[in-house]
């Protein structure tokens, strides 16, 4: 086995990629600044350190961090190329994310109280508190109220709430039998509301808050996570159909009565009608992807900076422009592998809480990628959501790494009873 591992060390390729990327970045700058090389060495040491730690201590699945570090490397190169200052900040965020990745691994393994029944109502309560705070004190950046300023640091509460929501969902499936039905007395008649309806309503309140914040992408993401897990774990067909109708009616209502959604759909259907105004962003993105061709223009030779918000939402267009369709497809393949690993981990676990949690995190990464990549290539209406691990943004990067740390902890199986057999699906 050792010889095989030595010949194909994907880890070396991540290192090699970073060496090349930062050499190129160094040459790209007008005044050759050796600080760039120093940042590059920092990145390489960081990835090396975390990877060796995982391998050496046998901290579960090694591929999760490998794949995500490749994604981060691609993202860092693009962001650094677009703006070295933002790139440096992103490197700092990555260092923070990597340490929180390890920290959340340790915390999750050391404290096995996350699935306790008491927390079932605490997760949504915490989410609603964060939502309320955001609506009351939040700042509006780019159409949506989604920023909260705490002691001078801007955070996006949505990134935290995503994780809380997955925990809440997982803990529902763990405790659904033992949760009491709510009894109501209205005009002498007893109504009993089953726990699944309470769960459904609480989940829709999450989405309702997101709609109030005009965070359409987030609402869609939550619904997809909610419904996929429902489809997997719930056998109640009637409830599922009710959800489909409810969501269908909700989105139809949104399309008919909310002008914001109408605008987005109009832009999606025909961005060329208002090319200098509302359609500017998406058309620039399409021009960028188109000008890239198969192999791209080469790093630093394209002009992705013409797209507004290119370093956050539209980073995929920049990758497609400068690394071509092949580069873009490579990125999608990496996400596919990451989600595959997550689902594989979730299949091996017996405990339903950890199973749902691992699955929830994997599909969160998958759907988020789908929503934003689908948006920038004009396959679905565009909604602002970050591309996990690649987009610029501290909250997004850190919450993605925390989620990955939890997945890593689940894959190590130290706090969870796992099936001893490895099946060869």
């Amino acid at each position: 086995m050792d010889s095989i591992y030595n010949v194909y060390k994907p880890f070396r390729m991540v290192m090699f990629f970073n060496v090349l990327a930062f050499t190129l970045m160094f040459l790209h700058e007008d005044k050759k600044d050796f600080i760039t090389l120093a940042w590059g060495i920092g990145i390489i040491l960081l990835i090396f350190g975390v990877y060796v730690l995982i391998k050496w201590r046998h901290w579960g699945d090694e591929y999760l961090f490998l794949i995500s570090s490749m994604l981060v490397s691609i993202g860092l190169m693009m962001i650094y190329r677009l703006d070295p200052d933002i790139g440096k900040r992103q490197i700092v965020w990555f260092a923070g994310g990597a340490s929180l990745f390890l920290l959340s691994y340790l915390i999750f393994n050391l404290m096995p109280m996350w699935n306790s029944k008491k927390l079932y109502y605490i997760y949504p309560a915490a989410s609603f508190l964060l939502f309320t705070l955001t609506l009351a004190y939040g700042r509006r950046i780019g159409g949506a109220i989604n920023w909260l300023s705490i002691a001078g640091i801007n955070i996006q509460p949505l990134e935290v709430i995503k994780l809380l929501f997955i925990f809440f969902t997982a803990s529902y499936y763990k405790h659904r039998e033992s949760l009491k039905a709510l009894s109501l007395k209205i005009k002498g008649n007893d109504f009993r509301i089953k726990s699944i309806y309470i769960y459904g309503v609480l989940s829709y309140i999450h989405m309702g808050f997101l709609v109030l914040q005009r965070e359409w992408g987030g609402a869609l993401l939550f619904f997809l996570i909610y419904f996929t897990l429902l489809y997997i774990f719930e056998s109640n067909l009637k409830f599922m159909l009710a959800n489909v109708f409810f969501a269908g009616a909700g989105s139809l209502g949104g399309i008919l009565f909310l002008s914001h959604i109408q605008t987005r759909i109009d832009i999606w259907l025909n961005p060329w009608a208002d090319i200098s105004g509302k359609g500017y962003q998406i058309t620039q993105s399409l021009f960028a992807i188109g000008s890239g061709g198969f192999f791209g223009t080469g790093i630093g030779l394209g002009s992705p900076e013409l797209i507004p918000e290119v370093h956050t939402d539209f980073i995929f267009s920049a990758i497609c422009e400068e690394m071509g369709i092949f580069g873009g497809t490579g990125v999608i393949l990496l996400y596919l592998l990451l989600v595959y690993r997550g689902i594989k981990i979730s299949l091996k676990i017996n405990d339903i809480f950890y199973k749902a949690l691992a699955l929830g995190i994997s599909i969160m990464i998958g759907f988020q990628t789908f929503i934003i990549i689908g948006g920038v290539v004009k396959m679905i209406p565009l909604t602002g959501i970050t591309l996990p691990f690649i987009s610029y943004g501290g909250s997004s990067l850190i919450s993605s790494f925390i989620a990955l740390g939890i997945l890593q902890a689940i894959s190590s199986g130290k706090s969870i009873q796992m099936e001893e057999t490895h099946e060869g699906e």
Partner: protein, 149 residues
């Protein structure tokens, strides 16, 4: 200068990404194929019993395969080396015995009997050869012996 370098590098970057994807898939694939049999690597030294039932149709825990590295008894009680909670098995159902390199199976007086190649066997050890089917309770096994003699 930078243009030439960047043009060369863009191909290298794409090659690295795809090679990385290939290497990861390869490693995952190797992981799967070497751990197919109860997590142990196939040593090629010991014969094993391979389950041919579909595991989903059985409502108790059973492994894909059981290695015969030493003499083992099979049954429902925990005292057996191979313990399967199949309600159609007896507490001590059958024994797998070895004489030098030859493996035998013998019935330990079970209620529902042990069948080798659809023939019911009794307490006298019955010699197993590669490809024999062993039927006990609801379970169907194939005796796999790929040792190089």
């Amino acid at each position: 200068m930078f243009e030439i370098l960047s043009t060369v590098f863009k191909y290298i970057f794409i090659i690295i990404i795809y090679y990385f994807v290939y290497a990861i898939i390869r490693l995952i694939y190797l992981d799967i194929s070497t751990t197919t049999h109860t997590g142990k690597k196939l040593s090629g030294k010991n014969p094993y019993l391979k389950l041919i039932n579909r595991r989903e149709t059985l409502n108790f825990r059973v492994d894909e395969s059981y290695f015969l590295d030493e003499e083992k008894t099979l049954g429902r009680s925990n005292k057996n080396e191979i313990c399967i909670k199949d309600p159609f098995l007896s507490g001590e159902h059958a024994a797998f015995l070895r004489n030098k390199d030859v493996w035998y199976v013998s019935d330990l007086g079970s209620k529902n009997g042990t069948y080798v190649n659809d023939e019911k066997i009794d307490a006298t050890p019955y010699e197993l050869t590669d490809g024999d089917t062993v039927h006990l309770g609801q379970l169907n096994f194939i005796f796999v012996d790929v040792r190089e003699v």
